[in-house]
Amino acid sequence: MNPNYLDFEQPIAELQAKIEELRLVGNDSKINISDEIAKLEDKSRKLTEQIFRDLTSWQVSQLSRHPQRPYTLDYLAEIFTEFDELHGDRNFADDAALVGGVARLDDRPVMVIGHQKGRTVKDKVRRNFGMPRPEGYRKACRLMEMAERFHMPILTFIDTPGAYPGIDAEERGQSEAIARNLAVMSRLKTPIISTVIGEGGSGGALAIGVCDSLAMLQFSTYSVISPEGCASILWKSADRASDAAQAMGITATRLKELGFVDTLIEEPLGGAHRHMSEMGRRLKGSLLHQLDVLQAMDTQSLLERRYERLMSYGALD
């Protein structure tokens, strides 16, 4: 099994392996087999299209956590310029699971904040698998208030299994840190655009996700609890994660239907990680468009609109 492919992608992996083999043969023997390779590549593309046409919620959930999926810093490098990372909450520590700083997007000054997962084992541990502690959320709060002072739009990138459930996090007030961000973000006098780029894990995601415009990448997810967590509570078995994913409706497509998502950004064939530069191009285009819309609004109507938007969630007569 090829670890770079998920279990439902293995047929694609096998085809790709064959293509690689043929390429090696081609190099060695100088026999022209490019026709054969082209044929196989066409087949691989069709197979990928077919597999990705109707993915289950659970498969999308696996894609959203794909080990090669682009993270916040990848997008920062790809589509932003002049990024300067700003560290620390000024009280306790700097949390590497949540990064932020000033940057430019097509020359426009912006504040970028996002969850950050690690790629290598060592890095994963340092980034705490993208699960922030209270100081991470407090750093985010500090940077967002700074953005407000300097009239910079805030762009947040969501990609976390959730806020860290640890002893130290509880001691330092994980709940309060999240709650504070929700309250503060509801009134910041600057546009906020949130994009779910991977996993949108519950309160830990929402803590940087109160916004004027919510975008989701096609194979990202957003949910109140992880499918595994939901399954182990309601079905009494984590093995029913697939059922839980389906029942909760966690995919970008479903959440767009339900009215939570403003913009669904399509991913390149096979997912964002298969074509990073193309993904970056699409994301950048979408962000610029959203910025145009929001920056044209005066602050008062922006805030009124944000409040009404929040009040509309699950509104009842």
Partner: protein, 310 residues
């Protein structure tokens, strides 16, 4: 079968039936902490605080509010709101059936009760979570009712008091439930901006989405003694960090020590202490009841005004 076998079971049955008939159902209750068997009317007179060990047992939402607010002039808000199963959610059971069961068991439509009323003459809005209703979980009805409470508090300039008891977000409402965190927090931020006090009282237990939103945003966060309060549940934390949790972890006293709550207040003193604090925060005369009556007559019963006195 011998004559003895025939006669003994029926004797046993008779005896059991007699005992049941003699003691009305639920007249006694065991304290979950010290296991003392308590006479229910006596327990209720102590507002569900064990007279033997001082353990604060859970108090249902309606009883809590009727005890907390003055008996005159209580008025329930948004009582008609009922939950909607937007996702047609189904796990091992249908959400609709779970709701019906909870409604029957608690005689509440959902997990939050909101009332306008007064506390020793001071007009307030008070809300309480019903933990018996699906673990006091926050779905769209809870969020909406809380927001209406906060909005009334802001518009009528009445302090808001919330008694939280909740396991967190309601999974069966998925993202609708998560968004209630943002919705309630936004309403509280407006209340705060208007200079109206909000006191959050944390009662056993408060976790997850409720803890990480409305329950931690009080001008004062107050806890009842020995309540279990946190973001993640103790079992989840234990599984994550793979070590034993320290003694008293996530209890009210632990939260006080770590600076999360302002104070711990015994249930029997809750009315007096909160009344006093709210009168101080709103610059009302410190004497409750009698003084307040004159005061109310003097300024035509208008509730507290956030505007400075001229």
């Amino acid at each position: 079968m011998s004559w003895l076998d025939k006669i003994v079971p029926s004797m046993g049955r008779t005896a059991r039936t007699d005992r049941r008939n003699n003691i009305p159902d639920g007249l006694w209750r065991k304290c979950p902490n010290c296991e003392a068997v308590l006479y229910r009317p006596e327990l209720e007179r102590h507002h569900n605080v064990c007279p033997k060990c001082d353990h604060h047992l859970r108090l249902n939402a309606r009883r809590r509010l009727s005890w907390f607010l003055d008996s005159d002039g209580r008025e329930e808000v948004a009582a008609q709101l009922e939950p909607v199963d937007r996702l047609k959610f189904r796990d091992s059971k249908k959400y609709k059936d779970r709701l019906a069961g909870a409604q029957k068991a608690t005689e509440e439509k959902d997990a939050l009760v909101v009332m306008k009323g007064s506390l020793d003459g001071l007009p307030v809005v008070a809300v309480a979570f019903e933990f018996e209703f699906m673990g006091g979980s926050m779905g769209s009805v809870v969020g909406e009712k809380f927001v209406r409470a906060a909005t009334i508090a802001r518009e009528e300039k009445r302090p808001l008091v919330c008694f939280a008891a909740s396991g967190g977000a309601r999974m069966q409402e998925a993202l609708f439930s998560l968004m209630q965190m943002a919705k309630t927090s936004a309403a509280l931020e407006r209340l705060s901006g208007a200079g109206i006090p909000y006191i959050s009282v944390l009662t056993d237990p408060v976790f997850g989405g409720v803890s990480a939103s409305l329950a931690m945003l009080g001008d004062l966060n107050v806890a009842e003694p020995n309540a279990l309060i946190g973001f993640a549940g103790p079992r989840v934390i234990e599984q994550t960090v793979r070590e034993k949790l320290p003694e008293g972890f996530q209890r009210s006293e632990f939260l006080l020590e770590h600076g999360t709550v302002d104070m711990i207040i015994h249930r029997s003193e809750m009315r007096i202490r909160l009344g006093r604090i709210l009168r101080t925060l709103t610059d009302r005369p410190s004497e409750p009841a009698v003084t307040m009556l004159e005061d109310v007559e003097g300024d035509d019963g208008a509730p507290y005004s956030a505007e400075p006195a001229r």
